[in-house]
């Protein structure tokens, strides 16, 4: 039996992510537990999300394929770094973002309201994952896109997906 968090972890390994920074959210607890157990990457645990933008940038400069795992509140904390480091220099990073305030989640609808508009304003392409069947292909494709475009690309993870269980 695998949770959605397990599926996302499997997909990140399969996509070739080899450097990963994380800051927890309750709904990503299993995902981050799995990230900590994998040997496919260098894993850095953050204190605030924007530093992860810089750490991932440094890793990319040496040839790594980096991902930054965080909540969408952390995405908002990271906007200056995403703008003046990632976008200004042309540095790819796969942003794996828990979508607080998406449908069927409580307490953070205000953050949910502005998450996609902020990404659109930044010119960061984003893909919402609500369906287990789409996890592997979306994360693999988003990783190719970020590396090819040399810009961050975001994958937004819905709560029901992360909590889902299946084979």
């Amino acid at each position: 039996m695998k949770t959605g968090g397990d599926l996302v972890a499997d997909a990140l390994v399969a996509a070739g992510i080899n450097f990963i920074c994380t800051l927890p959210d309750w709904n990503m607890a299993r995902l981050i537990e799995r990230i900590g157990q994998e040997n496919s990457w260098i894993h850095v645990r953050l204190g605030r999300e924007e530093e992860g933008v810089g750490i991932c940038a440094g890793a990319y400069l040496t040839g790594k394929t980096p991902a930054l795992v965080m909540q969408n509140g952390g995405l908002l904390n990271s906007v200056n770094g995403l703008t003046t480091t990632s976008l200004q220099f042309g540095i790819p990073t796969l942003l794996v973002v828990y979508y607080a305030g998406d449908i069927n989640s409580r307490y953070f609808s205000t953050v949910g309201d502005i998450t996609e508009p902020v990404l659109e304003a930044l010119g960061i392409r984003h893909y919402i994952l609500r369906d287990r069947a789409a996890v592997m292909q979306t994360i693999a494709g988003a990783t190719v896109l970020t590396m090819d475009s040399k810009r961050p690309v975001a994958v937004l993870l819905n709560r029901d997906l992360l909590r889902s269980e299946g084979p």
Binding site: I55, G58, T62
Partner: protein, 200 residues
Amino acid sequence: MKRLDCLKAIAGTVGDALVVGSAGGATVEWYHLHPSEGNFRSRTLGLASSIGLGIALSLPQRKVIVLDGDGSLLMNLCGLPTAAWAAPPNLIHIVFDNQVYESSGSSPTATAGPTDLVAIAKAAGFPRALWVHDVDAFATAVADALSAHELTFIGAKVEHGIVPGIASPTMDDAENKYRFMRHIENLEGRKIFGSGYPDL
């Protein structure tokens, strides 16, 4: 103690160490004194230390030097525990503490008050963290860090003031990125661009 004199004292000694500069005057002076394909200039206040950490963790066989300022470090203080926990032994974090936000009008930072950045680095878990108070001690501290195999933080209290006659580097940010990455390809003897993903 002047920042420029500190940088002059190490410009000939850093070898092939990779150098990440913060968005501030130290980086302008460093690019002038030590032009190198192995220099990278951050544009986000606070993130030079994070970029240096990412490089150091990814290239454990290379020495990485971060040239930071007090204002920049104060904007990313949580980066100190992150670096101390990850503990790359090849990372040297140098902070020139002039007690002002020099690049943005020279209003004071908290280090003009009670804040001690070396004490913060020690408390964050840096195994080596020290203040230096003259140029010789600075050069010795950097030489020691380059020969040691331990995460190091060096604080240098310096006078504030931008040195006249040193122009800001004209290199475009994307150009800086590509030149730095080509330098890594040459140093490491491997391809970065054009590897990993199939051409379709």
